[in-house]
């Protein structure tokens, strides 16, 4: 969407919402992060492209979409507002900071079975509520399910219906707008039948779940038309063919969702929800797999049963033999495939193969591989029991490879392929930690991480474990250690600094020293503050104008602040600037590496901002995060630190990292 349209939208929404940045764009619409000015919270604004809006016809579209506002449910992203902003149709939803299932699939390939069951149950719960209100989503797909913490919420409720009502089309329109998405369309949608009902959503949920389990949708084709045809006539493979460990009960639920005839699917979403609840709570069992209670045997039946039993045992032994044979052959194939990948130095490929096989390097059959390229990881987490997942960061940085579920912490001596990983640790009532970890071939590594309790309300901070001072200071600080501390996950943004300015930060004498060193001379507080102004002479960073930051730069790091302003801001926030030792500790941890992410120089531009064209939003470079999860410590804007002793002379003031425009 062009800046002109953004400014049109901003003008039309003036006083109610302020667009901050684009979150994503699709064929029909762009989603923006915006600030709800009345309630001082973030919201997501979805704005349709003007040409799409023209086709939809504003009033009718908005009438349809507002029906959704009637539904309130924890697993449905409710509609806050909608309107026509000078020809741009938009609607406003709560902002969910998590990623979509599409993004998660892209990162992990396929999801842990327990996660899939939980997510499917959430989606079914939301759908059941909507269906009770007579509303059908019509476009359930990974893009429309957002992660909110560990839970799923369904978004874009009503959009597909609104589009189809407005255009009178049931799938692909002449403008190329898709009402429903071919991969997830029910057979009746694919056949453009007019009487779509809730069972269409049940089918799409089956497709979604199949994809979450296996990493690919059940029916594919080279073109949209082929996919639509497959929905009508091709029976999908059983889930277990692509993921062996799928519980039979779950497979049965999914495959029934995917029945071609809607009469053969789950008839009510509540019924489907009940099945999923049962699977999610194994002690309850699943009715369809439960063995009926035994009644008193009769003799004839017992005799038949003996023969049947013998036959079954023979069959089982034969079956076991066949399974073992197959497994041995599969292992040999896997070893060959891994060795081939390693020969070509393709550790990423080896990792993907290993994850897809469901095997681990700890198995005896793979010992030779482990010896060559394996590393042993012991990860202790406070609190114990936190769930640990790792995802390998590929050399090309084109998104993490599929993740491996390492189970509950502590993780003991787990053998992994050497390389760079993104580790995610989740525990109830704690903020999720996500950090970079490097494993070198042959090493035995022990790592300790502490999760920040949610009650501390420090979700934007990372917990840095105490330990040695690394980096250039290592020699000078040999033998001394840094105590554990919390540090901001991201650089201070313009928006955060704006609050400091707005709330009188520059007027509060307590935040500023009596005199300040400026251009080599000591200046009294009043005179010094008169110099700490923006381009229009108002108090603020010197790159601001009119007492505020440049349009659209709210999420960028504040730039052009003096060391004194950084100290005042930190003090106002109830924090301190980090010391030099703390800064290096957060950046490099115990690692003996050059950058927070390791030693990778080749991809430096993809890991930090050395673009030379300006600041970038904080957190833009996830692969540049450090061993404790702090971002942008290598480049973007210079970061202020305090001296070792915060009360010592300002002459020890320093700044670290490099500005985006600094030379090499």
């Amino acid at each position: 969407m062009s800046p002109d349209l953004i400014s049109r939208l901003n003008e039309a929404l003036e006083g109610r919402y302020r667009i901050e940045r684009e979150l994503g764009a699709g064929g029909m619409a762009t989603v923006f992060l915006a600030r709800d000015l009345k309630h001082d919270r973030h919201v997501a604004v979805k704005a349709f492209r003007p040409e799409v809006a023209n086709m939809l016809g504003g009033e009718r579209f908005l009438r349809e979409i507002e029906i959704v506002a009637r539904i309130e449910h924890p697993h449905i992203l409710t509609l806050i507002d909608s309107g026509d902003a000078g020809g741009i149709l938009y609607f406003v939803m709560p902002y969910v900071s998590g990623e979509s299932l599409r993004a998660r699939l892209a990162k992990e390939g396929r999801l842990p079975v327990a996660d899939v069951v939980r997510l499917m149950r959430d989606v079914a719960d939301g759908l059941a509520e909507a269906h009770r209100h007579g509303l059908v989503h019509r476009d359930i797909k990974p893009d429309n399910v957002m992660m909110s913490g560990k839970h799923a919420v369904v978004m874009d409720f009503g959009v597909a219906k609104a589009v189809s009502t407005a255009t009178g089309e049931h799938h692909v329109t002449t403008a190329g707008m898709t009402v429903g998405t071919p991969t997830y369309m029910s057979p009746e949608q694919a056949a453009a039948e007019p009487d779509i009902d809730h069972r269409t959503d049940i089918y799409a949920l089956g497709v979604l779940t199949y994809e979450l389990l296996t990493g690919k949708p059940p029916l594919r084709g080279a073109s949209a038309a082929q996919v639509l045809a497959a929905h009508i006539s091709t029976t999908p493979d059983p889930v277990s063919r692509h993921r062996e460990e799928t519980p039979p009960a779950l497979e049965a639920v999914v495959m029934r969702c995917l029945e071609k005839e809607r009469e053969n699917r789950w008839q009510e979403t509540d019924e489907l929800l009940q099945q999923l609840e049962s699977i999610a709570t194994p002690s309850d069992g699943v009715p369809s797999t439960r063995v009926p209670a035994a009644s008193k045997p009769d003799k004839r039946a017992t005799a038949w049963a003996k023969w049947a039993g013998i036959t079954a045992v023979v069959a089982a032994v034969g079956g076991l033999f066949i399974v073992q044979q197959r497994r041995a052959a599969a292992t040999a194939d896997l070893v060959a495939e891994l060795e081939s990948a390693l020969e070509s130095d393709d550790l990423d490929g080896a990792y993907s193969t290993l994850v897809a096989s469901g095997r681990t390097l700890g198995s005896t059959a793979l010992a030779s591989i482990a010896e060559e390229v394996g590393a042993s990881l012991t990860l202790t987490v406070e609190p114990a029991g936190a769930e640990v997942q790792v995802a390998r960061v590929p050399a090309t940085l084109d998104g993490p490879l599929p993740s491996l579920d390492l189970g509950a912490a502590p993780v003991q001596s787990r053998t992994l392929l050497s390389g760079e990983y993104r580790v995610t640790v989740v525990a109830p009532e704690h903020d999720t930690a996500s950090f970079s970890l490097h494993l070198h071939a042959g090493e035995t590594r022990s790592v300790l991480r502490t999760l920040v309790p949610a009650a501390w309300q420090a979700s934007e901070m990372v917990y840095v474990e105490g330990g040695v001072v690394p980096g250039p200071l290592k020699a000078a600080y040999q033998g001394s250690a840094v105590e554990p501390f919390l540090m901001d996950r991201f650089e201070v943004t313009n928006e955060q600094f704006m609050r400091f300015v707005s709330e009188g930060g520059y007027r509060d004498a307590d935040l500023w020293p009596d005199s300040m060193l400026m251009n080599g001379a000591w200046v009294g507080r009043e005179d010094a503050l008169a110099r700490l102004v923006d381009r229009t002479g108002l108090p603020g960073p010197r790159r601001w104008s009119g007492g505020t930051f440049p349009d659209g730069r709210g999420s960028h790091p504040v730039d052009g602040v003096s060391w004194y302003e950084a100290v005042a801001f930190a003090s106002w926030s109830g924090k301190d600037l980090p010391t030099l030792e703390q800064w290096w500790r957060a950046a490099l941890g115990d690692g003996d590496m050059r950058f927070p992410w390791g030693d990778d120089l080749r991809n430096i531009d993809a890991r930090s901002n050395f673009t030379g064209v300006g600041t970038t939003p904080v957190g833009r470079y996830p692969f540049g995060a450090g061993p404790f999860g702090a971002y942008d410590q290598a480049g973007n804007v210079k970061l202020a630190i305090c001296s070792t002793h915060p009360t010592s002379s300002p002459s020890t003031r320093r700044s670290l990292a490099r500005r985006w425009d600094s030379g090499s």
Binding site: S7, L37, D40, S502, T536, G537, G546, T548
Partner: protein
């Protein structure tokens, strides 16, 4: 107030007789070289008499505090039965009574006071410690009653600026509302009357020249990107012509103009107006660009100028 019959007749005759050249050709505007005399000017001011005792019936629709600025969305009664929609901006946490304030008149865009680039300017002034009452002039912004058509510049000229009787009526109403806005700031928001100024932008500067001559209570008047007439203007009602007023502004005046203004042309619309202004008027040439452009330096200068004159 009553007027001698002969004078009224002369005014009406002037009004009706003045049909300047049309279309692209600029009229040789007699008012630029020969503005009306003092007694005629005083007669003109009779058009702008307003009822100072009319209740304001103020309604605050919304209050928002963000980015250092507290803004109230409100309306109050300007003339009997006509409500003025406005936004009142002030520095977050600041006392209104202790700060200077300005009445802000928007340009000729149909969005009135709420045009994005004007809101930025209004919020800037508020952050600079100068409270701002930005009003929608009649038929603009929230007061758009459809009279001005679909929103094109040409349409507005055809219906309003080049339609003499209608334009005169609109100017009359606007000037009365400026005076009412002054009273609103002083009486409803407690601003010291000696510290109230006027800022007009583009069309708002044109109206501002007339209003600040007719209403002599303003402590400072800043006229940004204004002039005698804009490029599409070819109507001309003497009683609504800034040339007949600008010389009578009594307080400090600042003109901020661009030599590259493509709307109010330098030689025919800007310089002649400067020439008619009181000798004490200050002229500041922006290098930011054409019509409406302001740089950081301009903003800093404007805030400093207003603060100095509304101490």
């Amino acid at each position: 107030m009553t007027f001698p019959r002969i004078l009224v007749a002369a005014v009406v005759a002037q009004l009706l007789a003045s049909v300047p050249g049309r279309a692209q050709e600029r009229p040789t505007d007699e008012w630029l070289t020969r503005p009306v005399d003092r007694s005629t000017f005083e007669a003109y001011t009779g058009f702008f008499v307003f009822d100072a005792d009319l209740p304001f019936r103020t309604e605050v629709m919304d209050e928002v505090e963000r980015e250092g600025v507290r803004s109230e969305h409100l309306r109050f009664q300007g003339t009997p039965g006509l409500m003025i929609t406005a936004r009142f901006f002030r520095a977050q946490g600041a006392s209104v009574a202790d700060a200077p304030a300005v009445v802000f008149l928007h340009g000729g865009g149909i969005q009135g006071k709420d045009a994005g680039y004007l809101v930025r300017l209004q919020r800037f002034l508020a952050r600079a410690g100068i409270s701002v009452l930005a009003i929608d002039m009649w038929r603009f912004g929230e007061r758009n009653d459809g009279f001005l058509g679909g929103g094109s510049e040409q349409e507005r000229h055809d219906l309003l600026y080049n339609n003499d009787p209608v334009y005169l009526e609109w100017v009359q109403q606007s000037v009365k509302e400026v005076s009412r806005s002054f009273d609103f700031l002083a009486r409803e928001r407690g601003v010291d009357p000696a510290r109230i100024g006027l800022v007009g932008f583009s069309r708002g500067a044109v109206v501002g020249m007339i209003a600040s001559a007719a209403e002599d209570r303003f402590g400072a008047v800043a006229l940004l990107h204004g002039g005698h007439f804009d490029f599409l203007e070819n109507g001309h009602a003497p009683a609504a012509c800034p040339a007949n007023y600008v010389g009578h502004i009594e307080g400090p005046v600042l003109f901020l103009n661009s030599e590259r203004d493509q709307d109010f042309l330098l030689e025919s619309a800007i310089r002649p107006i400067h020439a008619l202004a009181p000798a004490s008027a200050e002229v500041y040439w922006t290098s930011a660009g054409g019509h409406g452009a302001t740089s950081d330096e301009d903003l800093g200068m404007l805030a400093a100028w207003l603060r100095e004159r509304l101490p």
